[in-house]
Each structure stands twice: as C-alpha cells, then as structure tokens.
C-alpha cells in the first residue's frame, strides 16, 4: 500500500506540490491583505479585469497562430511575433493612406476592413514565404534546427523592418469613430476595447468553423495528427501546412490591426514581446489547442493586469507592476505543475 503510493508519487511530486503550495499561500495571503485593505473599489477591480481582457484578446489572436503552427509542425515559430509586427506596419501604411484621402473619417467601417485586409495580406504573405523558404526544407530535421531557423527568421524580419521603415516609433492615425467609451454599470469600456472583444470573438468563431467544419480544416487536423497518414488519404501535406501558416498569419495581421487601434504605435521591435507573451499564452492554454490559445491569452492578460495589485501590493512590494511578467510566468509554472500540459491540453501521449 505504502510502496504503491511511493511508486505513484515520488519525492519530486512532493517537492513540486510543496513549491506550488508555498506559492499559492503566498498569493492567497497577498490577495487577502490587499482585498481587506480596501484600497481599490469594485469598479476599479472590474476595470483591471476589462483592461486585462482587452490586452489578452490581442495575445489570444497572436497565440492562435503559434498554436496553429505548433499543432501542425510541432515547432515553436519564434518568428510569429514578427509576422504580427509586419502586419501592423501593413495596417499602418493603409491607415496613413486612408487618412490622407479622408476615408478614415468618413467611412470607418470600410477603412477598418481595408486595414484588416492589408495587415492580413502582409502577415500571411510573409508567413507563407518564411515557411516555403526557411522551414519547409527542414520538415524532417531534428526539432532544434527549425527552432534556430525561426530565431534567424525573426532577427531577419525585425531588422528588415528597421531598415525599410526606420528606427523611430510611428504613430497610428486616429480613427475618430472609435474614440470614446460606453458605460456598462459602474465601469467604462473603451470603444477600441469593445472592437477587440468583438474581433477576437468573430475571428475565433470563423477559425473554429474553418478548422472543424470545412474540408481544408479536416485536412489541417489530419496533418497535425499524422502527416504520413494524411498524405495517404490524398491530402497535399505541403499545401496544407502552407495554408495553416497563412491562417496563422491572418490572425497575426488581425492582431496587428487591433494593436494599432488600441495602442496606436508601430515600431520595428514591437513584435518580440507580444510574441513571447503569446507563446506563453499558447502553452498556458495547452499548446496545439485553439480554444486553449484563446483562454490562455485572456488569462494571461487578466493575470498581468490584476496580479500585481492583487498579489503583491498587499505584501508591501513597491512598484508591483514592474513584476507583472514575473507573476505571469510564476502562474504559468504553477499551472504546469498541477496540469503539465496546460489548461486545455491533452495528456501527452506518445504518438504512434
């Protein structure tokens, strides 16, 4: 009986639970102290959450691309953040042109659709080219090789953008129609945030329909599961992989437009940090799982927003928001300790 228990849970499990437990107690203690101190009103807590969700929505859109590529190739595509960055530039130049013609003021719906089109085309094209030139020849290489290639692609794209578009920070033109906010109960929600929520929801729905209901979607899933078997069903594996890169690029482009609308800045280095966060979000949700990517993105956004004030401020840590990435990663570790494959991830099983 005891031996049985020992075999099932060795000392590392115990140690892990210990670490997890200590962290949890720490977090709980901080939360209770903060909450009882009454520094923040309910409306402020709700604000934290709304802000976090809006940021999380953008992470989610980027994370979808990460997860698509990971699901199908088992590869961490480090360059995905740069696809997002280039898409934002695409949207930026389109917005500049629209602003110059005055269409941005007069017809914002068409403007935003045009910006989406520009960003999606740029991101998807770059994604397809990167796949074709840099990743496809390495299809059967050991996994670290494409990882390094992706890092190389990331450097290349980042500094290409720096060379082409300059080193400064460019400002996104204002979309007047999206200024202002709507009141929901005690809190105000910015129109741009509403736009992010709607766009994320719509795109997720479309993506879900695409993957689960269409023939191409089935092909993507079959290639993700077993490339050889898919090929034996008549699926063109290369084309299918290119399509999923394109879809990932399209999502990144959409994220670029959202980013432009909400944060109104473009710069060549802006892809790296959101890329890293989106990767984290994808793992948090269970990498390879589409719903997981969205959930992971939203959770990450909320943790980053709420966490510093909730967990740290009570314990008297100065400048807690500086540590928000640290909190995000700690929560990630916690979740992976208790659910080693992410929130919605399947149990890792050896694929036949």
């Amino acid at each position: 009986m005891f031996a049985n228990l020992r075999r099932k849970y060795d000392f590392t499990d115990v140690l892990l639970w210990l670490i997890g437990g200590i962290l949890l107690i720490f977090i709980l203690y901080g939360s209770i102290v903060t909450l009882t101190s009454g520094k923040y009103t309910t409306a402020q807590w709700l604000n934290f959450i709304v802000f976090g969700l809006a940021q999380g929505g953008i992470y989610a859109l980027i994370a979808l691309g990460y997860t698509m590529v990971y699901g199908i190739l088992g590869m961490i595509n480090f360059a995905h953040g740069e696809f997002f960055m280039l898409g934002t530039f695409g949207a930026f130049f389109m917005a500049e042109a629209l602003s110059a013609t005055g269409l941005l003021e007069s017809n914002w719906v068409i403007s935003i659709l045009l910006m989406l089109a520009a960003a999606m085309i740029v991101s998807a094209t770059v994604a397809i080219l990167a796949e074709r030139i840099a990743y496809r020849p390495l299809r059967r290489a050991p996994r670290l090789v494409p990882l390094i290639t992706a890092i190389g692609v990331s450097y290349f794209l980042q500094y290409t953008a720096r060379g082409l578009f300059g080193s400064g920070v460019e400002a996104f033109p204002n979309v007047p129609a999206l200024a202002g906010s709507i009141a929901v109960g005690p809190i105000k929600i910015q129109n741009t945030q509403v736009a992010v929520f709607i766009a994320t929801a719509v795109l997720l729905l479309l993506l879900w329909l695409f993957v689960s209901k269409t023939k191409v979607g089935r092909a993507i899933r079959s290639v993700a599961e077993d490339k050889d078997a898919a090929a034996l069903m008549g699926v063109d594996v290369d084309r299918t992989i290119a399509i999923s890169f394109a879809v990932g690029g399209i999502m990144a482009g959409a994220a670029g437009v959202m980013y432009g609308l909400v944060f109104r800045q473009v710069a060549f280095y802006m892809g790296f940090v959101p890329g890293l966060k989106a990767f984290t979000a994808a793992v948090l949700g269970g990498i390879g799982n589409l719903a997981g990517a969205v959930l992971g993105g939203l959770i990450l956004g909320v943790i980053e927003s709420v966490g510093p004030s909730l967990f740290l401020e009570g314990i008297g840590i100065p400048a807690p928001h500086q540590l928000k990435d640290g909190i995000a990663f700690t929560v990630l570790v916690l979740i992976l300790i208790f659910r080693p494959t992410g929130i919605l991830g399947e149990r890792l099983s050896k694929r036949a």
């Binding site: 500094y159 990498i287 840590i317």
Partner: protein, 572 residues
C-alpha cells in the same frame, strides 16, 4: 533533395529574380548607402559596389553551375541572363525611387540612394542600361568561372571572399599588424590596389596548395600507427595551447576584448551543451544562471549596497568566485525540480520564464536595496594576483582561457563517463531509460546543475570584467544566442562550441561599426546555416551521422524534445 530536372533557362531567370529582389532589399534596408563611403580597394571600388556585384555574381554563378551540370551549352547564357536580371531590378529601383516618392514608406529610398545605385555620374535610361550591361558582365564572369577546374575555382572564390574580409576588418587588423605591412595593404580608405592584388594571389595560392595537399596528408595521418598518431595529436594540442597562451600579446586590447566575449559564450555554451546536447533538455532561460553568477559576484564584492554590507562583509574576487558558482549551481538544482516533470516545449517555456523572472527581480524596485535595481551595481571587484589587479582585456583573457579549459575538461570527461552514457540514454528515450532503472530525477538534476555552474562561472568573470552591471545585460537574447552558438557549432561537439562562438559572437562583434546590419546578416546566416549545414560547423562525429540521416528518418514524431535521438529501428 528534389528530383533532378533538366536545366531550363527559366531557372536562370528565377535565380536572377531572386538575386534581384535580394539586391533591392539590400538597397532598401540602407546597406548600400551606408557602405557607399567605404571602399574595398581605395579609389577603385567601393563596398556598396562590391555588394551589388556579389549579389549578381552569386545568382549568376548558381545559374551557370546548374546549367553546367545538365546542359553545358547553356552555361554562358544562364550566367548572362541571371546577372542581367539582377541589374534590371536594381535599375528599376534606381529609376523608380524619385518619381514614385518611395520614401513615404521606405525611409532609405532617398534620391541619394538612387544616385548611388546608378553608375558614377550617369542617370536615366543610359545609366540603367550601363547598370544592366555591367551586371550581365559580372554574370558572364561567374559563368566563365564554372568552366575552371574545381580546385582552382574554389581557390579563387575563397580568395575573393578573403580580400573583401580583409577590407572589412581594416580597423581591427590595422592596429595589430606591423606598420610596414599595414602601409602596404591599406590606404586611408580600404585596401591599396597593390595590396589587394597581392593578398588575392597569396590567399589563392595558399588555398590551392592547402586543398591539394590536405587529402593526402589526412590519409597519411590515418595510416600512422596509433601510438604515433597519439603523439602527434598530443604535439598538436600542446602547440595549439601555446599559441592560445601567446595570443593576447599579438592581438592587442580590442581583439582580446572580443576574445573575452567569445570566451564567456564558449563557457556558457559548454555548459548548455551538457543540458541540451547531452541530456536533451531544452533550456531557453539559461541566462538566469549567468545572471546569478554575475550578480552574486557583484553583490559580494561591491563597496556599495549598504544594506547588504550590513550583513555580509565585502569579499575579494577569489572568495566570491566559488560562491558565485555555487549559487548558480543551487539555482540549477532549484529550477531542476519543476523541470523534472515537464517535457519538450513545456520545459522550454518554464525555463524561459525562469530567465525572465530572474531579470525582473534584479531590476525590481522591491529588491533594489539588495541588488541595486535599475541603477545596477558598480565597483565590482577585479581578480588580484600577487598584488596586481587584473583589469585589462588581455589579463582577463588568461582567466577566461583557464576557465574554458576547466569547463572543457569537465564536460569532455562527463561525456565519456557512465553519467554521460546515462544522459545519452535519457535523451534518446526517457521511458526506456527509466525502465533501465536510470534515476531520471538525479541525472536530470545533475545535468542542470552542471550547466548552471558553468554559466555561473562565466557570469562571475563577466561581472568582474565589466565592473559595473545593469539588469539589461541579462535578457532572453543571451539565452537564445547561446543556444544558437551551440547549434551552429554542432550540438554535442566541444570544438563545435568554440567555432560557433567565434562565428556568431566574435564576427558580429568585429563588425560592430556596421551597426544594425549586423543583426540583419546574423539572421540570414542562422537561416542559411540551418538550411545547408544543420549538423553544425564542426559536428560531433557520431551525431553527424544521425543528423545526416534525418531526411529519411521514418519516425519524426517522437517526443524527444531535441529530436536528436537516433532513428528508431527501421520498420518493416
């Protein structure tokens, strides 16, 4: 690996377009303009001209070489076409910049660039025509080259590259070569014409004879009796070491500085090699241990940080060094624990997170009294030997060299030991290794701790050498660069690590004056390396075989995080 199709002239057009796009990109990212002022040969040819010519040359060369293989009659036209197309694209860009006002989008598309792209003093259609003809001539040259015997062709190519490198590294080489030679080779801007021609001939001759002699020499070495061979390798090693020890005297302070930096990365990469290469655990947060080593050194030896000084007396470098390594080692064990239960990419993200957490903690206002926060720590101690403070790059070179030798010794011993074999087993198949009653927990922890300790060693010297530290030096790019050094050098191979560090850390460092283009080229180099030489520059002998087989490996979906396990048995 595609099925060989007969060459068509369309292929030359394609290669030409590819080269043309590359040339346009090079111009638009600003490289052409930036290099316009520098000359390869003083008064004869500028760096930017060489660059454009190189693009035309390379595309034409590939086109001609392809044609030469299957349809020798088309070699010359292939070269001409590919070269000319590159010229056409560049000419189009030069003509389009001003009328299209391309500057609205591309910051470097200035009228000045248009002028630079055109042949000197020409403009409009005439300039464009000359450009195209010139590019076609370069293509012709490349095509002619394909007719030469292989050895000669390669010597010429190598020596062309060497001459350009010589010109590029002028600032670095000039201070370390004798004055007479310097005057002979270099003019105020670029090489002298005589110097360029001479060095071209000398390098070509050396390359030619080296390549002719090498096969027979290596055969002769292989034919030697083992005892003699061992003596020889011993002699070679010893003389190599002697050269290494004499090097700083020749190198001067800047090249020693670069060597030091390369050295930090060699130590780290040797450590990471244990984690990733031997044990197969993908660690993306390796910088954490480097930071811990550096910060331990800093906090223990700085005269500042009154809070810390209240508890711990100020230590000397030599006392702090083992403590720094020990702290990193402990952190390795601590991080090892959550790592034990995760595999593959989950492991990668946890380690990455750990690296970021460490950086954020040293940066944070919360720990500022103890770690200096954003202001960092200054006044870190330098090693003192016999009453003399070592603070020049040359002196540090020796400490780092000795550290590398120690790290090398440890890791090469480990590799051959029982432990090394156990790691190999873990890497290849965790479940089988566990079934063979290999203690996974212990072995993984050991791998992590060894890697961490070496990073800590590197960090301690890094901190001491800088004398002043800010958290920004410990970002995730360091981890990524160390990993790249490892892969580009050749995973699992100790000499590979050295070569990788020289290429990826040393070269960009030498090209510091080329600013942001360094990283652009770095990215291209990484991609090209992985496409054409995924096994690394100096691969591990056994590993190379495994990696070369990957094309046909039937089972690629294994759970092995590094994918470096040898192929499973052939199914049938």
């Amino acid at each position: 690996m595609q099925k060989a199709k007969p060459f068509r002239l369309m292929d030359a057009v394609r290669l030409g377009l590819f080269g043309g796009i590359a040339a346009v990109l090079i111009a638009l990212v600003g490289m052409i303009e930036a290099f316009n002022k520098r000359e390869v040969i003083n008064g004869v040819i500028s760096m930017s001209q060489v660059m454009l010519m190189a693009v035309a040359f390379v595309s034409a060369f590939f086109a001609a070489a392809q044609a030469h293989k299957s349809k020798p009659g088309q070699t010359i036209p292939a070269g001409l076409i590919a070269g000319a197309i590159v010229g056409v694209l560049v000419a189009i860009l030069a003509l389009a910049i001003v009328p299209l006002n391309m500057r609205e989008v591309f910051v470097n598309a200035t009228p000045r660039l248009a002028k630079i792209l055109m042949p000197q003093g020409m403009e409009g259609i005439a300039g464009a025509a000359v450009l195209v003809v010139g590019a076609a001539l370069v293509g012709l040259l490349a095509a002619v080259l394909t007719y030469l015997p292989g050895l000669l062709r390669r010597s010429i190519l190598i020596s062309l590259v060497a001459v350009v490198l010589l010109a590029l590294l002028k600032d670095v080489l000039l201070p370390v070569i004798p004055e007479g030679l310097g005057d002979f080779l270099y003019a105020s801007n670029g090489l002298t014409l005589v110097g360029a021609v001479t060095s071209f001939i000398v390098v070509a001759l050396i390359a030619y004879f080296w390549m002719r002699v090498r096969p027979s020499t290596s055969k002769r070495i292989a034919a030697m009796p083992p005892a003699q061979r061992r003596t020889m390798s011993f002699v070679v090693t010893i003389s190599f070491l002697i050269v290494l020890f004499l090097l700083p005297a020749v190198l001067g302070s800047y090249l020693s500085e670069v060597s030091d930096l390369v050295g930090f990365y060699i130590i780290m990469a040797l450590g990471l090699n244990v984690v990733v290469g031997f044990a197969g655990l993908l660690d993306l947060g390796y910088v954490a241990f480097f930071a811990i080593g550096a910060y331990t050194m800093a906090v223990l030896t700085t005269p500042e940080l009154p809070l810390v000084r209240g508890y711990i007396p100020q230590l000397s470098f030599w006392v702090a060094l083992p403590i720094s390594v020990g702290m990193a080692l402990l952190a390795g064990i601590f991080l090892g624990v959550p790592v034990l239960k995760t595999r593959g990419d989950y492991l990668a993200i946890i380690t990455l997170g750990f690296g970021e957490i460490i950086r954020l903690l040293v940066l944070s206002d919360a720990l500022k009294p103890g770690l200096g926060g954003a202001q960092g720590v200054t006044g870190v101690a330098r090693p003192v030997l016999g009453g003399i403070v070592s603070d020049t790059p040359q002196e540090f070179y020796y400490f780092i060299l000795i550290s590398i030798l120690i790290a090398w010794f440890i890791t090469s011993r480990l590799k051959k030991s029982r432990l090394g074999r156990a790691w190999m087993a873990v890497r290849e198949d965790e479940d089988v290794a566990a079934a063979m009653s290999i203690n996974l927990v212990g072995y993984k922890l050991l791998a992590f701790a060894t890697g961490a300790a070496l990073a800590g060693l590197s960090g301690a010297f890094f901190g001491s050498k800088l004398g002043s530290m800010v958290p920004a030096s410990f970002n995730v790019l360091v981890s990524i660069n160390v990993l790249a050094v490892l892969i580009v050098g050749g995973m699992g191979s100790l000499p590979g690590v050295v070569v990788g560090a020289i290429v990826l850390i040393g070269l960009p460092e030498l090209l510091r004056e080329f600013n942001e283009f360094r990283w652009w080229v770095y990215g291209i180099v990484l991609v090209v390396m992985m496409l054409y030489r995924p096994e690394g520059l100096w691969p591990d002998a056994t590993r190379e075989r495994e990696l070369l087989d990957f094309e046909d490996e039937p089972n690629v979906d294994s759970e092995d995080p590094t994918g470096l396990a040898p192929s499973a048995t052939i199914p049938s």
